[in-house]
C-alpha cells in the first residue's frame, strides 16, 4: 500500500520538531546552557545577597504595608549614605556578629529618630527634639505617651506606622546601625 501523505507529512514533522527544539533549547545548546547558568547565578546572587524578598507579617506597618504583602529589602541602599528619616528598613533581631548573612526574620520599621536626637510622644504626637514631626504615613488615631529618649551616636529610633494599636503591643525603640539590614524597596 502506498501512503500518498507520507512525502508531505515527514518533512512537516521534522520541521515542527526542529522548531520545537529551537524554542526549547535554542539554536546553539551550548549558548543556551551558558545563558541558563548566568541567569541562575545572577538570580541567586541578587535575591540572596542584594534584594532580599520578604513577606510582611502583622499589622504594625499599616496602612502603607499590608499583612501578607510581598516586598524586597535592598541591602546596598546604605553603601553611600546613612539611613534617613522616613526610610522603611528591615532590622535583624539578633546575631549582629554575622552581618554578612541575611536573616530569616526581620522587623520592618520606619526610621523616625536620627543619632543624637531626642524622641518623645505626647498625646499621640511624635516629638523630635521637642518639635512635632509631620507624619503623613500615619493614618489612624493615636494617644501614645512616652518619656523623652535620647538616641545614641550609632543608633536610630524606629517604629511602625500603625499607631492606632495599643502601645504595649507595638515594638519600637532604638536600633543599632548594625541591625539595619537594608531599605525596603517599595
Amino acid at each position: 500500500m502506498i501512503d500518498h501523505d507520507q512525502p508531505t507529512t515527514r518533512p512537516g514533522r521534522a520541521r515542527l520538531g526542529r522548531w520545537l527544539r529551537i524554542a526549547v533549547i535554542g539554536r546553539n545548546p551550548k549558548i543556551t546552557l551558558a545563558r541558563i547558568v548566568i541567569l541562575v547565578v545572577t538570580c541567586v546572587v541578587v535575591f540572596k545577597f542584594v534584594l532580599l524578598p520578604i513577606r510582611v507579617e502583622g499589622v504594625s506597618m499599616l496602612p502603607a504595608y499590608k499583612d501578607k504583602s510581598v516586598n524586597f529589602v535592598n541591602r546596598l541602599a546604605y553603601l553611600r549614605h546613612g539611613p534617613r528619616r522616613g526610610d522603611v528598613v528591615g532590622l535583624r533581631l539578633g546575631g549582629t556578629n554575622v552581618i554578612y548573612r541575611a536573616p530569616g526574620v526581620m522587623y520592618m520599621k520606619r526610621i523616625v529618630g536620627l543619632p543624637g536626637e531626642t524622641v518623645a510622644f505626647a498625646d499621640g504626637d511624635l516629638l523630635i527634639n521637642g518639635t512635632a514631626l509631620d507624619e503623613p504615613y500615619v493614618k489612624g488615631p493615636c494617644d501614645w505617651n512616652c518619656a523623652p529618649v535620647t538616641v545614641g551616636p550609632n543608633q536610630y529610633f524606629v517604629m511602625g506606622d500603625n499607631r492606632s494599636m495599643p502601645q504595649d503591643y507595638h515594638v519600637f525603640g532604638k536600633a543599632n546601625k548594625e541591625q539595619i539590614v537594608g531599605k525596603v524597596l517599595f
Binding site: L93, G94, G95, P103, K174
Partner: protein, 164 residues
C-alpha cells in the same frame, strides 16, 4: 584536553573528600545548629494530637536541657528569673502545647563555640505560631550550652531585647 579533564576530576574528588569530611566530622557549630532544628521539631505539635504524643514530644524537648536551667525572661508584661529543673521545662512545654497546636521555628541560628570547646552560645530567633491565630510570636533569644557527657545541653535561656 586530557589535562583539563584530569584537573576537573581531581577537583571533583577533592570536593567530595571535603564534603565527606564535613558530613562525618561536623563542626560543633553545625552539631549545635542541627540540635536546635531537632528541638524546634520536638516543640512543634499538631492541634489534633493526643496526650501521649504531646507527652513524648515534651520529654524530647526536656532532653535538650541540662538538669538545671537558668531562665531569664524579660518581656513587656512578663518577667521571670528562675532556675528550672528538666521536669519543670517538660511541664512548661506541656502547658504551652495544651492551648492547641504549636509550631516553633528557629529561622536564624548563630552559634559561637567558646575557646575551651566545652561551652557555646547560640543567638537564635524564635518564631512561634499557634494555629488559628493570625500573628506569630517572634523573639530573639540567647542560649548558653555546655558539653555534658559528649552532648551539648542548654544551661541558660535568656530573652534579648531587639530594640532598646
Amino acid at each position: 584536553m586530557k589535562n583539563v579533564l584530569r584537573f576537573v576530576l581531581a577537583l571533583a574528588v577533592a570536593a567530595l573528600g571535603v564534603w565527606l569530611w564535613l558530613v562525618l566530622f561536623p563542626s560543633p557549630e553545625k552539631v549545635i545548629g542541627r540540635q536546635f532544628e531537632k528541638l524546634a521539631r520536638a516543640a512543634s505539635i499538631q492541634s489534633g494530637e493526643g496526650n501521649l504524643p504531646r507527652m513524648i514530644a515534651a520529654q524530647k524537648v526536656g532532653d535538650f536541657f541540662s538538669t538545671n536551667v537558668e531562665i531569664n525572661i524579660d518581656l513587656p508584661g512578663r518577667q521571670q528569673h528562675a532556675t528550672m529543673s528538666r521536669d519543670d521545662i517538660v511541664q512548661a512545654v506541656l502547658a504551652a502545647q495544651s492551648a492547641g497546636g504549636l509550631t516553633v521555628k528557629f529561622p536564624d541560628i548563630n552559634v559561637m563555640v567558646g575557646a575551651d570547646k566545652e561551652t557555646a552560645q547560640a543567638d537564635i530567633t524564635v518564631e512561634a505560631r499557634v494555629p488559628g491565630e493570625q500573628d506569630m510570636m517572634v523573639q530573639a533569644m540567647k542560649f548558653t550550652l555546655r558539653k555534658i557527657d559528649g552532648k551539648w545541653l542548654i544551661t541558660r535561656v535568656q530573652t534579648v531585647r531587639t530594640l532598646s
